[in-house]
Amino acid sequence: MLKNAFIKQLFSSFLDLVPILAVVLVFQVLVIRQPIPDVGNLIVGTLFVVLGLTLFVQGLEQSLFPIGESMAYAFALKGSVFWLLAFAFCLGFGTTVAEPALIAVAQEAANIAAKAGIIQPGNDAINDYALGLRLTVALSVGIAISIGVLRIIRGWPLYYLIIGGYCGVIAMTPFAPPEIIGIAYDSGGVTTSTITVPLVTALGVGLATAIKGRNPMTDGFGLIAFASLTPIIFVMAYGMLI
């Protein structure tokens, strides 16, 4: 029975990948008209991706979702808003500061800043700038998740906060150095990793289920939205200050 479910999941993971394979093959053969390099690696790599996706989904239902939910219930039962916010902050900060996509983007941004003459050229200044940027984004995600959790507890409508955030972004853009704007907008998208998303989603939905008068569908989602909005504002502020 278990084996059967596993094979079913393997098959559905494979289906998820078919579009990528189709796009790559069609473009390579029909548009670029070049033979596919390294067919062996392509096949083995694809099998790996299928297996990885299957294991991930299995672990998601067995571990990440239950952890997020049970912690949400435990905090709701404990009734301490302070500890819940502290947990939300740590979760946001901790997961973002080590995010590989962010590390890459921060390094790139530091190179741009050095070329544009915002900071002194030289490795030390570049590394300092990159680290500062990473800490800024991590801080902003930590704050974002805390505000999001506070919103679920208080039951504020999500769109007030999001629209307020948008207005903040729009108001800040003309004053930010032009070199930083592209990176700031992009940094919103790269902050949320594969492990953070399920945990944070389960936390939000669990909280909204546990607190009386909240609807998991309307109130439970929205944490990720904050985590992709605040970095834009914080990175622009970072660019203005330095």
């Binding site: 390099p37 991706v49 996706l53 952890i67 769109y159 594969t194 998991p216 989602f221």
Partner: protein, 259 residues
């Protein structure tokens, strides 16, 4: 074989390092603040190991198969030889790059369908809504959004329009859509903007943006290469809100036609 094993071990180690802060946060709060034993600790631990192994296999597989090919293609599609223009030509019409837009849209669509974070959110949404929101429908809507977003972003790099104008317009559209959308979907729609771009999409899309910005005359890869991810996080919000509005409208129509 040994080479390959050590490579996999490295990826696994990297994944462990990325997870470490999360594990420390969870365990710390569980032990010090909640102070209650975990339910089914063994099952959770096994699940956590599945997640670790899954991500490691996933990344390793992508690095073996799709990333080299995808970045190679992004570069090939933007070379002057492929586009049939001479490198010295200054005024190239934006239509010349039509294969780039098609590629951008297809790769955006395909990678988003395979994005594990989106899968997680879609599963949760289907579970909570009791099946009213189908995981597949949501994923398709988000994928269409990303496809459109990345194609639009590629067009922006080619024409060199300010990123600011597009994002501003996008925000205004999202705000207007929010006012007319069913309240149930709003949180989910906003969230789907953030989850679309992670492990699979970011490296491929970045390669495309940088490749494009370095080939198009008059563009600076350092300044114009960015912004594709911003489009890929904004457009899915519109797509999901639009999907909800259409679904609501169709429902109403079918209700009113059946008296």
């Amino acid at each position: 074989m040994i080479d390959w094993m050590s490579q996999f071990a490295l990826v696994l180690l990297d994944t462990c390092r990325d997870i470490l802060p999360i594990a420390v946060t969870i365990i710390g709060f569980q032990l010090l603040v909640i102070r209650k034993p975990v339910v089914h600790p063994k099952k959770m631990l096994i699940g956590f190991i599945y997640v670790l192994l899954g991500i490691a296999f996933f990344l390793e597989g992508l690095q073996m198969a799709l990333f080299p090919l995808g970045t190679l293609m992004a570069n090939q599609l933007t070379t002057p030889e492929f586009l049939g223009i001479s490198p010295t030509e200054q005024n190239v019409a934006w239509q010349t790059y039509y294969w780039v837009y098609i590629f951008a849209a297809s790769i955006g669509f395909a990678t988003t369908l395979a994005e594990p974070s989106l899968l997680a959110v879609a599963m949760k949404a289907e579970q909570i809504s009791g099946g009213t929101i189908r995981a597949w429908g949501l994923r398709l809507a988000v994928s269409f959004g990303v496809a459109f977003g990345i194609a639009l972003g590629a067009y922006r790099i080619v024409t060199g329009t300010e990123l600011y104008y597009f994002i501003l317009t996008g925000y205004i559209i999202v705000i207007v859509q929010t006012l007319f959308s069913p309240k149930l979907i709003i949180g989910l729609a906003y969230d789907s903007g953030g989850v679309t771009t992670s492990t699979v999409t970011v490296p491929l899309v970045t390669a495309l943006g940088l490749g494009l910005a370095s080939t198009v005359p008059g563009r600076n890869p350092l300044l114009d290469g960015f912004g594709l991810i911003a489009f890929a996080s904004l457009c899915p919000i519109m797509a999901v809100l639009g999907y909800a509005q259409i679904a609501q409208w169709l429902n109403r129509r079918s209700l009113s036609s059946k008296p």
